[in-house]
């Protein structure tokens, strides 16, 4: 059985966000690129499943839609343990284009088992690619997945809901849209993994022809806020008074 992990390439989450060209483009100068945090957790969980001899996962593949500049991120995923990688050679304009490209490639797979996608990307926060991919592939999708176990050819899922967790049983093929909790901490590649990653296959495939459904036309930075009103530690009770009578939130 194979697990395919969708991989996003995003600016490091501590990046100080800036825009150029009259606020129409993200300023990528000096930016450190990383695996999208949720995709990294998804990959970690996929590796745990493969290493568990109690189930039949024998391969983990990663797939990404991006230019050559995304290859360091892909190599990192291979160093963490993915067996091979596919890069569809295009900078996607929106989630639909990204999902369409991956679907066009995955439709050629002989047999589709399990696909993992992160709940959203930390840059454009579209929260869409996983769901769109599932619809394009006509497979069930489960969102808000915080637990994933295999049981023969069925999947046992923990799905977070507002104020609780549901335990679900699902057949494969399926696509899991994962978030916090799916794996404890993302894996850090070991030196041996980094060495091996250089030899693992990274297939670059040309994009399919598709038009974006949306377009980002500009960016804005948030306005500045008034300074924090400090309350003396010896008069902490004043805070409650301010919250009640000035902010009017109590």
């Amino acid at each position: 059985m194979k697990i395919i992990v969708c991989l996003g390439n995003v600016p490091d989450t501590t990046t100080k966000v800036k825009f150029v060209e009259d606020n129409t483009k993200f300023d990528a100068a000096g930016v450190q690129w990383v695996i999208n945090p949720w995709d990294e957790l998804a990959l970690t969980r996929a590796m745990e499943l493969k290493e568990d001899s109690g189930n039949s996962v024998d391969k983990v593949s990663v797939i990404t839609v991006g230019g050559k500049n995304t290859e360091p991120t892909i190599r990192k995923a291979l160093a963490i343990g993915a067996d091979d990688a596919v890069r569809i050679d295009l900078n996607p304009e929106d989630s639909y284009v990204a999902a369409y490209q991956m679907a066009a490639y995955l439709k050629n797979e002989q047999e589709l088992h399990i696909v993992f996608a992160g709940t959203e990307s930390s840059d454009y926060n579209g929260a869409a690619t996983g769901g769109m991919l599932a619809e394009l592939l006509s497979v069930p999708s489960i969102s808000s997945v915080s637990g994933f176990e295999l049981e023969g050819d069925k999947v046992r899922i923990s799905r977070d809901i507002d104020g609780g967790t549901e335990h679900l049983l699902v057949d494969i093929p399926m696509l899991a849209i994962v978030h916090k909790g799916i794996a404890k901490e993302p894996r850090i590649p070991a030196m041996r993994g980094i060495m091996m990653a250089r030899k693992k296959p990274l297939n670059v495939v040309p994009p399919s022809d598709v038009e974006a459904l949306t377009e980002i036309v500009g960016f804005e930075l948030p306005g500045s806020k008034p300074p924090c009103k400090m309350i003396d530690v010896d008069n902490a009770k004043e805070l409650i008074d301010l919250l009640q009578n000035e902010a009017k939130v109590l």
Partner: protein, 323 residues
């Protein structure tokens, strides 16, 4: 032409975010000079459905089938798409919550309708159809155009005031062409937290960070939250250490929340944490380090030891509640 709003229910009940979505749908329909239709899937009483009429819903399509009690993304989005076509919906609306994020992308593909997720208000312009949304985890905004005739939106929480607009409601029962076998997701059981305020719904949140020093020190956080009718939350290191459950983690990779009041205790305010709470109306910071970045995001701050300050705040809230 119509604006179609998908209205999720929680065990047959709606909540504040539902009324927000109806208010938004109503304002959007006015802007587009069209009418609003609400779609509800799963068993919801007529009384509960009628509540949506207080916020501008005039026509509600309901599928009361018990099969729709468990969310199945594939089946739900199929039914929503069918109804959208039947009523000639131009815009299909969802809340930007677990269910909305699960369904909107599938509906977007099946209708070939461009999706903007997490819209923070009404369109900036109708032609081209332009929305503002948060990007880079709340560190900036983007203006995004939908290029297709049909449009799908998910609405971020606290993006519009709930507005009363009472009138009569027409409820229509719809029986979609769906069989039990179409549902591929089987619910085994569900665990629900009881007696606690749900973090994503809470108007007030009291949150603790590593500055609390030990999981044994959470007593005053919980007491203050109880007294304020607030939910409890925590920062990422605290959930990673296992001091608190991961469901409480607020921040970029945890829960994104937008309460009226967020009280951050012993949280230094890393950019990833602030990304999850920056939509709060008011932020209070309590920290021993006067240079902690959390004070830049906060509206009110106290520099000092939380274990000394919290009991005083608890006392003050007790006095407030008593008066």
């Amino acid at each position: 032409m119509a604006v179609l709003a998908y209205m999720e229910n929680w065990d047959g009940k709606f909540k504040k975010s539902s009324f927000e979505l109806v208010s938004y749908a109503n304002a959007l329909a006015e802007l587009l000079e069209t009418n609003i239709i609400v779609l509800s899937l799963g068993p919801v009483s007529e009384d509960e459905l009628s509540k949506l009429g207080n916020y501008g819903a005039r026509k509600i399509i309901t599928v009361p089938d018990v099969l729709f009690k468990t969310l199945d993304n594939q089946v739900f989005s199929k039914v929503i798409s069918v109804v959208a076509v039947n009523v000639g919906a131009e815009v299909i609306l969802f809340s930007h919550d677990n269910a909305g994020k699960a369904l909107a992308p599938r509906v977007s593909v099946s209708l070939k309708a461009g999706l903007v997720s997490g819209a923070t208000g009404l369109p900036l312009s109708v032609d081209p159809f332009t929305l503002r949304k948060k990007v880079f985890s709340g560190n900036s905004f983007a203006r995004q155009i939908i290029k297709t005739d049909k449009k799908v939106l998910t609405l971020a929480k606290n993006s519009i005031e709930v507005k009363e607009n009472r009138g009569s409601v027409e409820i229509e029962v719809f029986q979609p062409d769906v069989q039990a076998g179409d549902f591929k997701i089987h619910m085994e059981d569900v665990q629900k937290q009881t007696g606690k305020v749900i973090l994503t719904d809470a108007d007030i949140v009291v949150s603790g960070g590593r500055g609390m020093k030990s999981p044994d020190n959470w007593g005053p956080i919980e007491e203050l939250a109880d007294l304020l009718g607030a939910a409890t939350a925590c920062s990422r290191p605290v959930s990673d250490e296992g001091w608190r459950p991961h469901q409480e983690h607020t921040g970029q990779t945890g829960k994104i929340i937008a309460p009226n009041l967020y009280i951050a205790v012993g949280i230094s305010g890393a950019i990833q944490h602030l990304a999850g709470v920056s939509s709060s109306k008011f932020i209070v910071a309590i920290n021993t380090d006067k240079d902690a970045p959390v004070f830049e995001a906060a509206d009110y701050g106290i520099v000092g030891d939380a274990m000394k300050i919290l009991p005083e705040l608890i006392q003050a809230v007790k006095e407030m509640n008593a008066s």
